[in-house]
């Protein structure tokens, strides 16, 4: 509260960043403890959560007032013009303070109260049960068991308490291996494919150096490969890219004998093989620095595979470039595509997707288990494991399944949400759109397989919104241990029950779960299948959107169909009854009353007030937005 000096400013103008019309909306700006609120003369409200604010900028004073540009993490950009400079300065300073909190306890989630009692809150947190999920996958079983090694977070602070490991891996082996792996993140089970009896495991990079080896780690990998009764060979996927270490490579010819054996079933293209050779170089460099990858000589039955996904810093600047390009007013088609190309964003998305496809093929075609790692095993590894699971298992393509997937591969395995999303005022170099990329990959899959997902685009956008909103406890903190220390389950609410309550909004009307063709997804990663995700990066720039939404109209139709069918059944049974009773007058009245179906308008619940995602209501509202003045012709 102490940061707020002005709570209300009148006669503020809001400019649309793409419209050419100079008629800006005029209204009143309110500053609350949690939101910035703008109410225009038509009483339309624009809510901006303080936590969503990525940057505030005060531009040079103009004749009409003092411009204030606010960029949000959910890609909203608002441009206000405040008449008096003093007010502008006050708001600017307040927002600077309010958008960057130093303590978790000051985040919105700790004050947000959706009027639920404690038992409801607890039930919300219990909605997603990971033990249940592992049971669904088919573990524990004769080859895999629950390990209590990390019950007190003693071995690895960033892993969850409950970890699944091969049954034959004893505790000393686990402990030994964890000492050999960066941050103690030893190989554990991420997904188990019941049918193929193959596993997806994850870990961090080994601290091997040149000569160091770790027998326990080698044993653990042996154990993982032995836990697969069908194929003793396993893949180790290093998701990191090539490095500028050509000269070093040239002098170390003897290392050349460690040749990556690539299964000819999957990669038989000579060119691909060559490019993978290149990508190994980075791992070599890491090895020189005492970190690196496993020496193949020390591990038998293992095939190494390198896929080139860039690190968080490259991803961060790539997104920055992308946003710079598409924020340009009066952008030409050519500048857009050359900007899209030079940002490299779609190339990175494709790299993540290709890695997940490799993982899927290794399991489906070769029946081999796969161990995925990057450096620390919480960014790229999470992307590849979760996306791979999504391709393999249709359960994760349901609304509830997708929540489980995020809980499992991202939240519980310690993706550093708070650092990556910049929840607190911390190191900006730790911020990176890793999770956004994952969502984008999923969106690309929904585009390629419109019938394979139970949820629609709005669901992905809503989750993205809450990654940054700090309104719910799920994404606060960087690992489970930290979350427990923050007592999030007692002090905050879980997002998932609220999404489930609103499920109707997020359903894909075309979803056909029974279709055999979509059991395992095999996406085509030809370059032209990757498109710019306008509804994400321009979700608030309504003038750029299609003016009518097919999804909502089909959704409404489906709803109406169901309702009409029910009505018909209802009426028919009533007719039967009434025929028996021979009381006709009443019936006619009732018929007239009930035949007209109410079109299912979906209410927005209070906690989602600030959302105006994909307007659910059809023609009229969207066509309104179709105005020549909104566009530059």
């Amino acid at each position: 509260m102490e940061h707020i000096r002005t709570t209300k400013v009148e006669q503020v103008k809001l400019l649309d960043r793409f419209s050419t019309s100079n008629k800006a909306l005029t209204g009143t700006l309110y500053l609350t403890a949690t939101h910035l609120l703008f109410i225009d003369s038509h009483q339309k409200e624009t809510w901006i959560l303080h936590h969503h604010i990525a940057s505030v900028e005060k531009l040079a004073l103009t004749t009409s007032g003092c411009p204030l540009v606010i960029q949000c993490k959910n890609f909203r950009i608002v441009h206000f013009i405040v008449p008096r400079e003093r007010d502008c300065h006050d708001i600017y300073n307040s927002l600077l303070q309010l958008s960057k909190q130093a303590k978790y306890e000051d985040l919105y989630a700790f004050s947000y109260n959706p009027k639920q009692n404690d038992s409801e809150r607890l039930r919300g947190w219990q909605l997603i049960d990971l033990a249940e999920e592992y049971k669904r996958m088919g573990v524990p079983n004769s080859n895999w068991q629950l390990s209590d090694a990390n019950r007190e977070y003693k071995i690895c602070e960033t892993y969850p308490r409950e970890l699944y490991v091969p049954r034959i891996a004893s505790k000393p082996i686990i402990v030994g291996s964890s000492k050999f792996r960066s941050k103690g993140r030893f190989p554990v089970l991420s997904y188990y494919h019941r049918e193929k009896e193959a596993a997806v495991c994850r870990c961090s990079q080994p601290l091997s150096g040149f000569s160091a080896r770790c027998l326990e780690d080698e044993h653990l990998l042996q154990a993982i490969s032995k836990a697969n009764p069908v194929n003793r060979y396993m893949y180790v996927m290093d998701t990191r890219p090539k490095h500028r270490m050509q000269s070093w490579w040239a002098t170390q010819k003897d290392i050349g004998r460690i040749i990556v054996r690539i299964s000819s079933k999957i990669w038989n293209d000579e060119k691909i093989r060559e490019s993978h050779e290149q990508k190994r170089l980075n791992a070599m460099a890491n090895r020189a620095a005492g970190k690196g990858y496993e020496n193949e000589d020390n591990y038998s039955n293992i095939r190494f595979q390198f896929v080139g996904i860039e690190n968080i810093h490259v991803m961060r600047s790539s997104l920055q470039k992308l946003l710079e390009v598409n924020g340009t007013k009066g952008l030409s088609v050519n500048d857009f595509y050359s900007g899209l190309e030079s940002s490299g964003w779609l190339r990175h998305i494709k790299a993540v997707m290709d890695a997940a496809i490799f993982l899927t093929k290794a399991i489906m075609i070769e029946n081999a288990s796969v161990l995925v790692h990057c450096s620390d095993g919480w960014d790229r590894t999470s992307q590849v494991c979760s996306l791979g699971s999504l391709l393999l298992d249709s359960f994760y393509r349901t609304i509830r399944g997708f929540m489980v997937l995020i809980e499992k591969d991202w939240i519980s395995f310690g993706h550093k949400f708070s650092e990556r999303c910049g929840h607190l005022d911390s190191d900006p170099k730790e911020v990176s759109p890793v999770f956004t990329q994952f969502l984008e990959c999923v969106w690309h899959l929904t585009e390629q397989f419109p019938q394979a997902f139970e949820f629609n685009e709005a669901f992905l956008l809503q989750i993205h919104e809450h990654i940054y909103s700090c309104q719910f406890g799920n994404f606060l903190g960087n690992c489970q241990k930290e979350r427990e220390e923050l007592k999030l389950k007692e002090k905050t609410y879980s997002l998932w029950p609220f999404l489930l309550d609103d499920q109707k909004k997020y359903l894909n009307p075309l979803y056909s779960p029974k279709s055999q063709a979509v059991a395992v997804l095999e996406p085509n990663t030809v370059s032209f299948n990757f498109k710019f995700w306008r509804n994400m990066y321009h979700q608030f720039d309504r003038t750029l959107h299609p003016r009518q939404s097919v999804f909502s109209i089909i959704m409404n139709m489906n709803e109406q169909n169901k309702q009409l069918e029910n009505d018909i059944k209802d009426l028919e049974s009533k007719i039967k009854q009434h025929k028996n009773k021979q009381t006709d007058g009443v019936l006619t009245k009732e018929l007239l009353h009930s035949v007209r179906p109410e079109s299912p308008t979906l209410k927005t619940s209070l906690c989602f007030k600030e959302q105006t995602l994909l307007p659910v209501n059809d023609a009229l509202r969207t066509i309104e937005g179709s105005n020549p003045a909104d566009n530059r012709y």
């Binding site: 598409n326 952008l331 030409s332 088609v333 050519n334 857009f336 595509y337 050359s338 490299g344 390629q448 397989f449 419109p450 019938q451 075309l510 056909s512 063709a517 085509n524 030809v526 370059s527 032209f528 990757f530 498109k531 710019f532 306008r534 990066y537 321009h538 003038t543 750029l544 959107h545 299609p546 003016r547 009518q548 939404s549 097919v550 109209i553 089909i554 139709m557 109406q560 169909n561 009409l564 069918e565 009505d567 018909i568 009426l571 028919e572 007719i575 006709d584 007058g585 006619t588 018929l591 035949v595 059809d618 023609a619 066509i623 179709s626 020549p628 909104d630 566009n631 530059r632 012709y633």
Partner: protein, 621 residues
């Protein structure tokens, strides 16, 4: 008889019993599909003297033929297709790209088609390709077999593996010769007689009178003029055009002399809500001396006077100011400001002609490469500039529409000849403003009126598609650009167009190669000379058959009475994958999804339809 013909051409009439049976079956099927009601080899070429399809050739026709036959000169009077067919038959395997299984069977070249009749035990149907749709052909021989790659005008790529080197070369030469014939009246539409359609049907769906009736209901400032009845005033206009009531035919004729190709300003669309009009013409022939024409000025003055007192007008020139100025050196030019009070000139440069064709060729090239990296693809997409042209076209059309609807101004659109980018702008502007033109029949009428009757030279523009190695002369994908823009509109307003992507794809295919006569010739005059209307079938009658509807309609259509203003930002435009990547990618799951949409919609209709029955079955008091 026909059987005899087909295989006498091939020369080696070895006919074992089963083959005979197979062949007659094949012919029966052909007849059933309406492909063999005429002699497959064409007019007067049938070697059998008793061919029932030998058509009587009137002297007038012969005269015409000599005027229109641009292709290789016939040696003895008529066109001898049989001379061009070197081998009629061979064993071959056809590869059709991803998603379609290969076909094996007997390959057969006829006057207009390439047939593949599958072997006796095959279950699949006869495969058929209109030779006219072949854009380029490539042959390779190795050992005792050969391969022919056919690149079609609809962007399909087919591969034929043929037994026998000689047969391969002969078939390749035959296809090459037959697919590049330029004569109109020996083209397939003149022989196509599909079952269930009557000649002459649907040709009179959209006469100028029809459009005039609508305009006359809304305003009486305009009249239908038959000044061009014999095509002498303007060879590329239809017989009747709509002009200001205050201007008489003599003035029109004089105005026509002042415009390139005689294309004087005529009404394209009357926007009733604002009382404004959209006109189109060609450039005025001002020349270096800055000539003027009183009648032309009078005509445009009358347009403003007819709209409402004090109305303004905009002249949208689709060339840059620089290019318009340069045109003076070659006799063209643009309206002088002083000569046309009330009219203001706007320049919106749009690409046309060869650069547009090259853009198309480069885009198709880029779309054919499945192996390229992300960066390469994006840079090629940028480099071909196709989407930039889409943006130009859409935003110019929006500018014209905005001028009418928002500013209450009359709009005259022209470039140089007024047959390409001009039509692109006027037709798109109507689609944006006029809810009627967004219906199935309304859109067909729009294409017929604003493209076919308005004199877009389809024969010249669509002679070759993106694969041809021939040096482009007059080819330009202007009509395709129009279809792409319509597709973009449909994507941004998915509920507002009654037709779907299917219709746009069909129009693209038929514009380049068609069994129907609708897109033949360059103008109404030529169509009249060739008797296209009486001797070929109209595409509209073909498309409007009930069985075609599901492919062509948009199941989600609801009437939208408002103007549809698209976003033209690059983020809102997308590559039309359904067209450019149609054959390079395997069948998409999205097609199954589309089926599901249809199912939901029909479900809805069914449940709604069943409501009255429930109420009807209600006992009467």
């Amino acid at each position: 008889m026909m059987f005899f013909f087909l295989f006498s051409v091939s020369g080696n009439a070895s006919t074992p019993e089963f083959k005979k049976k197979k062949n007659s079956e094949c012919l029966l099927r052909l007849r059933h599909e309406g492909l063999l009601n005429s002699c497959p080899a064409g007019v007067a070429s049938c070697p059998a003297s008793s061919c029932p399809f030998r058509s009587p050739r009137s002297p007038r026709l012969k005269l015409l033929e000599s005027a229109l036959l641009l292709g290789p000169r016939p040696t003895a009077g008529g066109m001898e297709f049989s001379e061009l067919i070197r081998t009629g038959r061979a064993q071959a395997e056809l590869l059709r790209g991803p998603g379609a299984p290969p076909l094996r069977g007997t390959l057969c070249v006829t006057g207009h088609h390439l047939l593949l009749s599958p072997g006796p035990q095959a279950t699949s149907d006869l495969w058929l390709l209109l030779l006219r749709s072949v854009d380029s052909i490539e042959k390779r021989v190795a050992g005792d077999s050969g391969t022919i790659t056919l690149r079609c005008k609809d962007l399909r790529v087919l591969q034929l593996d043929i037994e026998g080197v000689e047969a391969t070369l002969d078939i390749a030469r035959s296809i090459e010769a037959l697919s590049s014939l330029e004569s109109v009246i020996t083209s397939f539409p003149f022989f196509y007689r599909p079952k269930g359609l009557r000649l002459g049907d649907a040709w009179h769906f959209h006469p100028p009178e029809h459009h005039y009736k609508r305009v006359a209901r809304e305003t009486n400032a305009w009249r239908l003029s038959e000044v061009n009845e014999d095509f002498s005033v303007c060879p590329s206009y239809p017989r009747a055009v709509i002009v200001p009531r205050a201007v008489d035919d003599d003035a029109l004729a004089r105005s026509a002399r002042f415009r390139q190709g005689g294309r004087f300003p005529v009404l394209s669309y009357h926007h009733a809500p604002s009382g404004t009009v959209l006109l189109r013409s060609s450039q005025p022939l001002t020349g270096p001396q800055k000539r003027r024409c009183a009648e032309d000025e009078e005509l445009l003055r009358a347009v403003l006077a007819g709209a409402r007192p004090g109305a303004r007008g905009f002249i949208v020139d689709t060339r840059s100011a620089q290019a318009a100025k340069q045109a003076r050196m070659t006799g063209g030019g643009t309206e002088a400001k002083a000569a046309y009070p009330g009219w203001k000139r706007l320049h919106r440069p749009m690409e046309r002609g060869r650069p547009l064709q090259e853009s198309f060729v480069r885009l198709v090239e880029a779309c054919g490469d499945l192996e390229q990296s992300m960066d390469r693809w994006l840079s090629r997409l940028e480099g071909c500039r196709w989407l930039a042209h889409v943006k130009e076209a859409l935003s110019t059309a929006c500018l014209a529409a905005q001028g009418m609807e928002r500013e209450g101004a009359c709009i005259l659109v022209h470039g140089a000849e007024g047959t390409d980018s001009t039509l692109l702008v006027t037709s798109l502007a109507q689609l944006i403003l006029d809810p009627l033109s967004r219906t199935m029949t309304g859109f067909q009428e729009l294409v017929e009126r604003e493209w076919i009757q308005a004199g877009h030279p389809f024969q010249l523009r669509c002679a070759h598609s993106a694969f041809s190695h021939a040096r482009p002369k007059h080819e330009a994908p202007t009509f395709l650009l129009f279809l792409d823009c319509v597709w973009q509109l449909g994507r941004q307003f998915p509920l507002s167009l009654e037709f779907g992507e299917g219709l746009l794809l069909a129009l693209f295919e038929h514009a380049y190669a068609s069994p129907f006569g609708t897109f033949l010739c360059n103008s109404e005059k030529e169509r009249c000379l060739c008797e296209v209307r009486t001797r070929t079938h109209s595409l509209w009658s073909g498309l409007n058959q009930p069985k075609e509807q599901r492919k062509l309609r948009n199941p989600l259509y609801v009437l939208n009475p408002l103007a549809i203003w698209p976003s033209v930002e690059p983020q809102s435009l997308r590559l039309w994958q359904g067209l450019f990547l149609r054959w390079t990618r395997p069948p998409e799951p999205s097609e199954a999804a589309w089926e599901k949409v249809w199912q939901i919609v029909t479900d809805k209709e069914k449940t709604e339809g069943s409501q009255p029955t429930v109420s009807a079955s209600e006992p009467q008091p």
